[in-house]
């Protein structure tokens, strides 16, 4: 129908798109494959968000309820688009739940997939209980208690390893995941706040707390929370006979190999292309860029475009993105879609 925008994915980007569409006087149909809305921050249970400091369940939760309470939005949970016909102005989508949706334009807000640390076995995830990912550590922070999963002791030393699953040609991931430096600096502060006797060390190649995140996260975590930043990428995580983790790397300033004991090691996991992207590309007839994210159209005059007319995208579907920017892009993609509907209305009258 010419008054409807189909939105696929209900993370921060898709939720923002849906609200923008209805605020512009049109209808939105949201198709989300999970049984809950909210995307990665809700599904993976993030703690306090960067940069607002608000709990994810409150901040993103507000976006979810705004959409759920919106009479202009129809929501299909636990569903995917299985096939698509038509063109801009008259798309027809068949859903996996048997329903059919007609829409004038489409916004793909299908986001990303977390890097699976199992693909980097030398860093001990899956081998040692006390090696965790940032998402698991965020969940631990949400419980308000910091403890080693193996025996419940309070950790004296926690290491956060940056760029796990990012910036690594050995595993075919040549991108920077953009947010994990800041998220890790934030996580270090959260850990210290809950457990003052725990010292946090962050191992980095470069620190990318871009823009206003520099003093708010990188500087603050050092000045106020005594986080230690060590310039070294870790090569291996092993265990000593007493069960403590041993982290092996090079201290690049003194140029010597180092082996340091830790109680918990956290992988700052990166953002992979959505594992559904090959399927999405096929169903929607759009291109993917070389890393496997959705291919952006020429951005300057075709903002939020894909390689197919009438289909827009936003947020982490395009590549590693922050929540705030995903939300803005969701609104931008929605306004492009709405503009298509407007053009149809004008043509008809």
């Amino acid at each position: 129908m010419q008054d409807t925008v189909l939105i696929v994915g209900a993370g921060p980007a898709g939720l923002s798109a849906a609200s923008t569409v209805t605020a512009s006087g049109y209808k939105a149909v949201v198709v989300e494959k999970e049984e809950i809305l909210g995307g990665a921050p809700i599904i993976s249970g993030y703690a306090k968000l960067v940069p607002s400091g608000e709990w994810a369940k409150d901040a993103i939760g507000r976006m979810v309820s705004r959409v759920e309470e919106d009479s202009g939005v129809t929501i299909h949970k636990g569903a995917k688009v299985e096939s698509l016909d038509g063109e801009v102005g008259s798309f027809t989508a068949k859903l996996s739940n048997g329903e059919t949706v007609t829409a004038g334009a489409i916004v793909l807000a299908t986001g990303f997939t977390h890097f699976d640390s199992i693909n980097k076995p030398e860093w001990g995830f899956g081998t040692f209980e006390d090696v965790l990912t940032t998402t698991q550590m965020e969940q631990m922070v949400s419980t308000g208690k910091i403890a080693c999963p193996s025996d419940g002791r309070v950790p004296e030393r926690v290491a956060i390893l940056l760029c796990v699953g990012s910036r690594d040609r050995q595993i075919g991931r040549e991108w920077c995941s953009k947010i994990c430096c800041t998220v890790s600096a934030n996580l270090a502060m959260e850990i210290k706040e809950i457990s003052p006797e725990t010292d946090v060390f962050i191992y980095y190649m470069d620190i990318r707390t871009f823009g206003l995140y520099e003093d708010k996260f990188y500087w603050k975590s050092q000045e106020e929370f005594k986080t230690k930043f060590v310039k070294a990428r870790i090569a291996e995580v092993t265990a000593s006979p007493d069960g403590r983790l041993l982290v092996k790397g090079e201290d690049t300033l003194v140029k010597r190999p180092i082996i340091i004991p830790f109680d918990i090691v956290v992988h700052a996991i990166g953002m992979d292309p959505n594992e559904d992207n090959p399927e999405i590309a096929k169903v929607f007839g759009i291109g993917l860029e070389k890393h496997g994210f959705i291919e952006r159209a020429e951005h300057y005059t075709n903002t939020c475009g894909t390689t197919r007319r009438g289909i827009y995208s936003c947020g982490a579907a395009y590549g590693p993105e922050t929540i705030d920017d995903s939300i803005s892009q969701g609104a931008a993609a929605a306004s492009r879609a709405v503009a298509d509907l407007n053009a149809l209305v004008q043509k008809a009258s």
């Binding site: 910036r167 690594d168 040609r169 050995q170 470069d206 990428r233 092996k248 090079e250 690049t252 140029k255």
Partner: protein, 228 residues
Amino acid sequence: MATYAEMQQIYDDIRGDFRYDSELNGCLNCGICTATCPAAHFYDYSPREIVQLLWTENVEQIYDAMQEKIWACAQCMTCAARCPFKNSPGGLVAIMREVAIKHEMQSAKDVLRPFGRVMLKLITTGNQLSPDMIQPDHFPDWGPNIQKVEGDLSVLRKAIPVKTLQTVETAWEVSLKTSVEMYTIWEMTGVMKSLELMDENLFDVIEDFIDEKREEYEEWLEEQEDED
């Protein structure tokens, strides 16, 4: 001490090697290579430092590293298997060593001197290996865990439908024909030239040996023809 122009020439020779661009893509300065490098654990040597010196074209420090540091590398290539940028620090060291030899650097001569007897043996008769020679008893430096691998190997060999033990008998014999072919390889790949630059005496001894073997081979060929 070399002049700056000489050091620049040494760098240019390294840079000009046809392998250089595939061994060095840039560097993230992460230190993974050094952390996994066995040599770095025992010597004042860091593959990351070597990569950085080359990448930043620090010709003086490159020259300095070629005096001692680059000879600590064991050429195990763990660094190349791990580098997130897919550099090969070990491969770069190999190029630097070849250039050190080309420039007749004293450090190269000093490193090779104790290996005169090994080189004599290797260059004249080669280093034959068959799978059954590679036994943990002969290589205590492999450590105790290798036994586990060894246990699986005999099973794996059966599973692989490729002959792996057919050389067990022949590997112990030195074939005259193979030796002569090997000498041609040494010459054509520049090994003999390098040896001449490094140790003239050893070079002469080996040349004599090679000449003798070649004569022997010619005679043997003639004998074969006569028999026909």
